[in-house]
């Protein structure tokens, strides 16, 4: 094969994936590692990559301790309640106590944060959210990362982590290929921070045909954070905790600013408030600890996101759809109307395009909402990701093994979507986790933990062969047929993605089955996934661009397999509205008030599942 092998050697810290987590990591690493060699490998262009490529109109995680607004533990309690108790509270507390310093730096770097003209504080959208003009959020943090890094390799699709040949279970760098030149890139590093993304497009999307890219999370979020770490043998947690979003129909435009700032609200197709009527039955499913409408009304605690979805889904199934967002009142105020539009232009332009195309003026018409297909990620109202160590001064023994945000693979750290059990980090929290991981990774190296790493030429050569195999498969198989995409010896990445999405939808609780699954369905799904895994060995790529899609699909596959395993393991319905285990429709605290932890054997591909204890923050000043 004509592709060159380009080796970048003697790297101290390799940042694999530079979204908000990765840019935070690269930036901070320079402070703790003045003389360290810091290298970034990014699949796209760091200036517009990751989930924030398009921009954001809010920072959803800001404590405001500076203004006496919240303490970190307040945010932990909020996240815990929203996730039905399933949070790594050590990691969440640690993120929350640092996150404000990131936001204050963003302001200095030029990110326009809106101010409250009366108080001079940041303009609050909600208790945790502040409003920003964030069209250039990503280019700004990218500048910071570029200033700190020795080298930025754009357009490198990282496919595998390198493992140390001299010591079991220790990372040694990463490999991938340049999606433009096709060249094979080898990064030999002492520590790796995985800043890759969560997974869109693993469940069948509601959009069809050309619109299949109109997903809630970016279509380039290919689950690589999970695919890479699972393949390396890292333990994962809470992978069953997929998220379903209630959003504006088709465009998936955000609703946060609408609810919180514009004070719009939802109603059913006949103009009624519908949520509260589903709550009594829901309280029976999940217990009073999780939904006590009377108590919650008194304490002003928000209803968990999944439970609000549950009401939405059931109201529509009862024949009283569609659910509308009532905008006609708020939009009479020209200032609020402008904010409503800016909100889309700042982060989901597609929704503005859709309303312009369908003549939906929210001033005169209440737009429709929908519940999305599920997504697997770790920084919104869900906490999928790797099982990581917490900080020394907070974490109990079961949650601590030496270095903050280090996975169970030595020297492999996580940030953002990569870290499990840390929901509600959003952009600022992901950046903060990157910073925490970077400091810990520097310490790991300074403590001598990365001494004596060796990577054999064989490992490098074997991975090269593996990476380019889809091109080879195409070349060989293509000659057997006249033309077209139907071939008895291979499938292309799009065909594979369609099959994956169909399996996930039908067997793992997608929108097509109203988010319902059970043990039997999951067992059948896993059987089909196993065969799909064999077919993925025969995936074909016509060119380098298709090779990128092939490897994205393989990462999505590994993510999906893990979601199946975790969903099968947790025999309860913990998050009604995200998904239902039809054979165990109740929340079961007696058996399942635990975090689920999995590990895929590097050599055999076999899964082992275990329960990990849940620790909660307990204090004298309970809310």
């Amino acid at each position: 094969m004509a592709y060159k092998t380009i080796i970048e050697d003697d790297i101290d810290i390799l940042v694999a994936g530079a979204g908000l987590g990765g840019t935070g990591a690269a930036f901070e690493a320079r402070y703790w590692g003045k003389d360290k060699k810091i290298v970034i490998a990014e699949k796209a262009n760091i200036d517009r990559s990751g989930a924030v490529a398009q921009g954001l109109y809010a920072i959803n995680c800001y404590m405001g301790t500076r203004w006496g607004e919240n303490n970190p533990e307040d945010h932990v309690r909020y996240a815990r309640m929203d996730l039905m108790g399933m949070v790594r509270e050590d990691l969440a507390f640690d993120m929350a106590r640092h996150v404000d310093s990131a936001v204050h730096q963003f302001e200095e770097w030029g990110l326009p944060l809106m101010k409250n003209p009366d108080t001079g504080t940041y303009l609050r959208e909600g208790r945790w959210q502040i409003m920003i003009h964030g069209e250039s959020y990503k280019p700004i943090v990218a500048e910071a990362a570029k200033k700190s890094a020795d080298k930025v390799f754009n357009r490198i699709c990282v496919t595998h982590f390198l493992m140390d040949d001299s010591k079991e279970n220790r990372v040694a760098g990463a490999v991938g290929f340049n999606v433009r030149t096709g060249n094979y890139h080898v990064f030999k590093a002492k520590a790796v921070i995985c800043g890759a993304g969560g997974a869109s497009n693993i469940f069948k999307p509601r959009s069809v045909g050309e619109g299949a890219g109109r997903v809630w999370y970016a279509p380039w979020s290919s689950g690589s954070a999970y695919g890479l770490m699972i393949e390396a043998g890292a333990k994962m947690t809470q992978m069953e905790n997929r998220i379903v979003l209630a959003r504006f129909k088709d465009g998936y435009g955000p609703v946060g600013a609408y609810f919180l700032h514009l004070k719009t609200y939802t109603q059913n197709g006949v103009g009624e408030e519908y949520e509260s009527k589903w709550f009594p039955a829901l309280t029976k499913m999940v217990g009073k600890e999780y939904l006590d409408t009377e108590g919650q009304h008194l304490s002003h605690k928000p209803i968990p996101t999944c439970l609000r979805n549950h009401a939405f889904i059931n109201e529509v199934n009862a024949g009283r759809g569609p659910i509308h967002m009532v905008t006609m009142e708020a939009f009479q105020d020209p200032h609020l109307e402008e904010i409503g539009w800016h909100n889309f232009l700042g982060m989901t332009v597609g929704q503005a395009v859709l309303w312009a195309a369908t003549d939906v003026d929210p001033k005169y018409e209440n737009p429709e909402l929908t519940t999305s297909e599920p997504y697997v990620m770790g920084s919104h109202a869900t906490g999928c990701g790797a099982w990581c160590s917490g900080p020394e001064d907070v974490s109990p023994d079961e949650y601590f093994w030496g270095y903050n945000r280090m996975t169970t693979v030595e020297g492999l750290f996580g940030a953002g979507d990569a870290v499990g059990g840390t929901p509600h980090a959003f952009s600022s929290g992901s950046f903060t986790e990157g910073r925490l991981a970077a400091k810990a990774a520097c310490k790991y190296i300074d403590d001598g933990k990365a001494e004596g790493i060796s990577v054999s030429d064989k490992q490098i050569a074997d991975l090269k062969e593996k990476i380019y195999k889809p091109l080879e498969t195409y070349t060989v198989g293509r000659n057997e047929i006249v033309a077209g995409s139907v071939n008895p010896n291979y499938i292309n990445p799009r065909q594979g993605l369609d099959r994956l999405q169909k399996m996930m939808d039908e067997y793992c609780g997608g929108f097509g089955v109203n988010y319902m699954t059970n043990e039997k369905l999951l067992q059948i799904g896993l059987k089909k996934m196993k065969i799909f895994g064999e077919d993925l060995e025969k995936i074909a790529a016509e060119d380098i661009h298709e090779l990128l899609r092939a490897w994205e699909l393989k990462h999505r596959f590994l993510t999906s397999e893990s979601v199946f395993q975790h969903t099968l393991f947790r025999k309860e319905t913990r998050w009604p509205g995200y998904y239902y285990r039809g054979d165990a429709m109740k929340l079961d605290d007696e058996n399942w008030h635990v975090l689920t932890v999995s590990q895929r054997d590097r050599n055999t591909g076999e899964y082992t599942m275990e329960k990990a204890p849940l620790y909660h923050l307990v204090g004298d000043k309970e809310e």
Binding site: K34, A53, W341, G350, E392, H545, H616
Partner: protein, 160 residues
């Protein structure tokens, strides 16, 4: 709404190819101009639209749910630090212009070069502090929050 490229405006400079997060803006080998090779992997993020020096790239709503005849155009100006939008409805009844800031400073000037900062002390290395902390957390004399300072413990079990 996938992107498309106007034949007469594109000069094949490749700015869109360089920036597209989804790797779907490519140069056509015969025409030497850019086009969207994979519309169903387009997030309508407008990164390429904003990057195009000739305003040659536009967006036409996804065929599966967006009728024809609308327009959302944009001019992003790093020097002025602004982004200007124009939204036109299909029925012509709404034509909006919206302007927003994208930065408060000249590009990159507010970002510190961390290799020039004073090296952290051993004490700081052994602490839980990050760069600029604790000052930047609270912007006062207070320290970093800990379980102890906030009267908290972590307890195993079900607590609410």
């Amino acid at each position: 709404m996938p992107t498309f490229v106007y034949m007469t405006r594109c000069d094949g400079c490749g700015q869109c190819v360089d920036i597209c997060p989804s790797d779907i803006m490519h140069i056509d080998k015969t025409l030497r101009r850019a086009y969207n090779i994979e519309p169903n992997m387009c997030w309508e993020c407008y990164s390429c639209v904003k990057a195009c020096p000739h305003h040659a790239i536009d967006v036409r709503g996804y065929a599966d749910f967006a009728p024809l005849g609308h327009s959302v155009r944009v001019v992003r100006d790093e020097e002025k630090g602004t982004i200007a939008w124009r939204i036109k409805f299909r029925n012509g009844k709404k034509d909006m212009e919206l302007l927003a800031p994208i930065t408060t400073r000249p590009w990159g000037e507010g970002i510190p070069q961390l290799s020039n900062e004073a090296a952290p002390s051993e004490e700081m290395r052994d602490s839980e502090l990050l760069f600029n902390e604790p000052e930047y957390v609270r912007m006062d004399e207070g320290g970093l929050h800990t379980l102890e300072s906030n009267g908290l413990t972590l307890k195993e079990g079900v607590y609410y």
